[in-house]
Symmetry: D2
Subunit: 130 residues, 4 copies
C-alpha cells in the first residue's frame, strides 16, 4: 500500500561517473512525498504562506544499484509512523527490472519557518494522513 511516483533520469541528475549523483535521490524522494501529499489533497504552498513547512530531520539511507542516464525509475512511498509534529516515511526506488536502487527511512518534522521551531501538524493534514 505505497504511493508510487515515476521519475525519469535526465542529464542534470547524473555525474561524471555515469550514474545518478547520490544526493539527487533525495530530491526524487522529496518530489514523491510532495506528490503523495498532493494526492491526499494537501498543497504545501498554501501552508508555506502561513509559515508551515515540512523539514527533513533525519535519514537512514542505502544506495543499492546505481541508476543511469535516461532510466525510468519508480519511487515508492509509505507512511510508517505519525506523531504530533513529525511523520516517518519509508521510501524505496526501483528500476525497470524491479531491482532496488535506493531505500531510506525519512523523519520529517512540521516546523514554523518564521522561528524554525517544531510545530504541531495542522489538524487538516493530520486527519488526512491517518
Amino acid at each position: 500500500m505505497s504511493f508510487n511516483f515515476p521519475i525519469r533520469v535526465y542529464y542534470e541528475d547524473t555525474d561524471a561517473g555515469g550514474i545518478v549523483y547520490h544526493a539527487n535521490y533525495l530530491k526524487f524522494c522529496e518530489r514523491a512525498r510532495t506528490e503523495y501529499l498532493r494526492d491526499l489533497g494537501i498543497e504545501q504552498d498554501a501552508y508555506l504562506e502561513h509559515n508551515i513547512a515540512f523539514v527533513v530531520k533525519s535519514m537512514d539511507i542505502d544506495f543499492k544499484i546505481a541508476a543511469k542516464f535516461n532510466e525510468q525509475l519508480l519511487v515508492k512511498t509509505k507512511i510508517v509512523h505519525i506523531k504530533r509534529a513529525s511523520v516517518e516515511f519509508e521510501q524505496t526506488i526501483i528500476n525497470k527490472n524491479e531491482q532496488l536502487v535506493f531505500s531510506a527511512k525519512v523523519q520529517v518534522a512540521c516546523v514554523n519557518t518564521k522561528v524554525m521551531k517544531p510545530s504541531a501538524i495542522p489538524d487538516l493534514i493530520l486527519g488526512v494522513l491517518k
Copy 2:
C-alpha cells in the same frame, strides 16, 4: 580590472557526458557575483531580510570549451553598465590553460521580493558599485 573568483569542479557539477552540466556555469557565475559584492562590503542576506534581492533578468551565453571533473576554473566578473534598478555584468570562465570555457552578458535587476517588482538599487550599494 575584473574580480576573479576560483571554482573547483566537483562531481555534483558534472553529468554523464563527463563534463560540467551546462546550467551549473550559471551557479558559478552567481557565486562570483555574490563574492564580488561581498568584496565591496555588500552582504546580500541583510538586504534579503528587507525584501531586496538581485534577480537575473537576461543572459546571453556562449559555452566554449567544456570543463571536466576536478578542473580548477577561474570566474572573471566585470560590471559594464549601472542603471537605477539594474546592473549589467560581463562574466567569463577560463581554465588552467587560460582557455575560454564560458562567457556571458548578464542583466541583473534589483527587485522587491514581496511584490516581485523592480526596485531602485539601494544608495549604499549604488555608491559602492560606482
Copy 3:
C-alpha cells in the same frame, strides 16, 4: 506547432528569494528537449554509449515572471533551424495563467564526447527532426 512538456516546481527548484532559482529553468528546458526527442523515437542513452551527445553551445535567455514553489509550468519547445551538426531550438515556459515566465533561443551541437569535437548529427536523428 510546439512540443509541450509540463513541469511542477518542487522545493529543490526554488531559492531563498521564494522563487525558482534562475539556473533551474535551463534544467526544465533540457528535460523538455529530451522528451521531445523521445517523442520522436530518439533515446539519447543509446547514442551516449556510442559517444554521441547533444551539447548546448549558446543560449539567449529572458527571465520574465518569476515562478514560485508548487506552480505548474509548461515548457513549449520548437525547432527553428537544423544544420549538419547543430540544431536551434526556441523554448518558452508559461505558467497556469499563460503568462510568459521564461524564453530562450538555444543552440545545441552534436559532439563526439571522446574528443569533445563537433560531429555530424546521425542520419537517423536528422531524418526524424526534419
Copy 4:
C-alpha cells in the same frame, strides 16, 4: 583530528523555506571528502580515467539546525574505519556559532565504474589513508 573545509551558502543552496535544501548538505560533504583526499595528495580524476571511483553506499544523517543564505559553514571530516574496498567517514557541519547544523556517518565504496562492482582500494590511496 578532523579535516576542516569551509563552505559558503549561496542562493543555489537554499530553497523557498529560506534555508539550505536538505539534499545540498550531501554535496557539501562530498566536496569536503574530495578536498580531504586532495590534501592527502589524491586527485580523483586520475583514478576516474582508470574507471576507479568512490561511491557512497550508505548514510545515516541528522539534520540539526537549519543553515541560511549567506552563512559561513565548516565541514569537519574524519575517517573512522578503513576496509579493503570501503571507507567510513564521520562528517559534521557547524555554523559560525559552532552550533551543529548537520552530522552523518558515510560509507564510501571503491568501485570499478565500467562494471559498477566493488574494487579494492588502490594501494597508493590505502597507504595514504592509513
